[in-house]
């Protein structure tokens, strides 16, 4: 009889709290959004399921070593890849092996839009400080505005490890919701005439330029912001594997099997880290609010800077400001949003190739910003 009582004590039914139920609903919502609307399913399915794993109630520190925050548990070992910042550079290697920098090389002035769209990072940093967060915490929250999950996880694991779960969930949630967040801001900050601007087709880029880009870009950004080396080093290595054309096998592995494995483990552990007992706090709520603000500021920063650049550009060379919104890194979702909004204004205007330039520049920009923050705050 005692055994049965003990068994019931250990079961989920006797350990459940309203927080667990809430988080289980959140996990189910993530899975629903991913499957029903295909919002970033590659991320939201593992994260959503991880939330279910992390919020199935059990007796914490009951000797079974089950929870992600319990030393010696399997989930804790997997979570070390997040806490020690191992997974983000591996993901960047895969992203580099997938990314074509040609649109950016063919029209280098669009790189500046990727810089302008980092506005949200620094505005949110100021906002977080004013809400009482410490400097490292505020920087980790601000980086959500870079719209780059791996960068957000990397920086927060270095500066504020206790906030990694909340920041990662906020970053990935807003990245998935880019098609809902960005369009109203894009329409608000541009005129119908501007949305119809047709840009010159990008020129073709030689193989030499494509090979030179990762090498020179790494040296340049690495010298300015060494803190970003783990991320940008792997990003540009992946890209060189792709563009050199002599390491096809390595590039294939990096952009397929490897990134898939890391994404699954990263997604599940990030999801599981939202254990209701440690996740549902006032700071998590504030992080979600600040994260949304960061996304909005970043989108606005890119669009407004594109309009500013147009003041100095000749007719025929003007930039469609919609592609400024793609300067937030969320690759390729924000570029797709620019394309869709462009088509709404003029069904013959295809912006996707142009939007990819600020989009990939945004990845570089957010990693540089993370490096700068690390050098200031560590």
């Amino acid at each position: 009889m005692d055994g049965l009582v003990q068994f019931l004590d250990y079961s989920g039914f006797s350990n459940i709290t309203p927080g667990h139920l809430l988080m289980i609903l959140v996990g189910m919502l993530f899975i629903y959004l991913a499957i029903r609307f295909e919002y970033q399913p590659i991320l939201l399915v593992p994260i959503g399921f991880g939330i279910l794993i992390g919020n199935t109630p059990f007796i914490e520190h009951g000797g079974m070593a089950l929870g992600i925050y319990e030393d010696g548990s399997v989930m804790n070992y997997l979570y070390q890849g997040v806490l020690k910042g191992v997974f983000p550079p591996l993901i960047f290697l895969g992203i580099g092996a997938m990314t074509d920098f040609s649109p950016l090389i063919s029209n280098p002035k669009l790189i500046l839009l990727g810089a302008a769209a980092q506005l949200g990072i620094f505005m949110t940093y100021i906002g977080a400080i004013s809400l009482g967060f410490t400097n490292p915490e505020a920087a980790s929250i601000g980086i959500i505005g870079g719209a780059d999950g791996p960068t957000a996880i990397y920086l927060s694991s270095r500066l504020a490890p206790h906030l990694v779960g909340s920041i990662a969930i906020a970053a990935y949630t807003y990245m998935a919701l880019v098609p809902l967040i960005q369009p109203p801001i894009m329409r608000l900050l541009t005129t119908q005439k501007e949305r119809r601007i047709k840009m010159k087709p990008p020129r073709s880029v030689t193989r030499m330029e494509k090979v030179m880009f990762p090498v020179f870009a790494l040296l340049l950004t690495g010298f300015i912001s060494p803190g970003s080396l783990p991320l940008l080093g792997m990003l540009f290595l992946g890209n060189l594997l792709k563009e050199s054309m002599v390491t096809k096998r390595l590039a294939d592995t990096a952009r397929n099997a490897m990134i898939d494995i890391v994404t699954i483990i990263l997604g599940v552990t990030i999801g599981a880290s939202t254990q209701a007992t440690t996740f549902l706090t006032r700071s998590s709520v504030l992080i979600f609010i600040l994260g949304a603000t960061a996304f909005m500021f970043s989108t606005a920063g890119g669009i407004l800077f594109a309009r500013f650049m147009n003041l100095f550009l000749r007719e025929g060379n003007k930039i469609n400001p919609l592609i400024g919104a793609a300067g937030v890194a969320a690759v390729p979702e924000s570029a797709r949003v620019a394309q869709i909004e462009g088509l709404k204004a003029d069904p013959t205007n295809h912006l996707i190739m142009h939007a990819m330039a600020p989009n990939v520049a945004g990845v570089i920009g957010s990693a540089v910003a993370a490096g700068i923050m690390m050098s200031f705050l560590l």
Binding site: L104, M123, R203, S204, M208, A369, F376
Partner: protein, 105 residues
């Protein structure tokens, strides 16, 4: 810190943009110099102008179609395959049910 940080992000990406505005010119300068040595003014003038990506794509498609449609040589290999049923115990007359003695009676 926010202002400094944002400025440094801008500076690093501005330098990257500047570098990759210059590199194509340097690369095409080398080509132009080659044409200069050859004395071909028409080619030299073209070398500085960047070809739009869609023009390259159209040329590539045209070349690909042209090369794939070339059919001036036959390989002289007959492609008609002999259709024959290979032997298996399942189609053997020896093991056919007709040969079953009890059935013949």
């Amino acid at each position: 810190m926010a202002v400094t940080g944002y400025s440094v992000v801008f500076l690093s990406l501005f330098l990257l943009a500047l570098l990759f505005s210059v590199i194509p010119k340097v690369l095409s300068w080398n080509i132009r110099r080659t044409f200069d040595d050859e004395g071909d003014e028409a080619k030299k003038a073209l070398a500085g102008n960047m070809i739009p990506g869609e023009v390259s794509a159209a040329i590539s498609v045209a070349i690909s179609l042209y090369l794939n449609e070339l059919h001036d040589q036959d390989t002289a290999i007959l492609t008609i395959k002999k259709v024959g049923k290979s032997y298996t115990p399942w189609n053997s007359k020896i093991y056919n049910v007709i040969n079953f003695k009890g059935f013949q009676r």
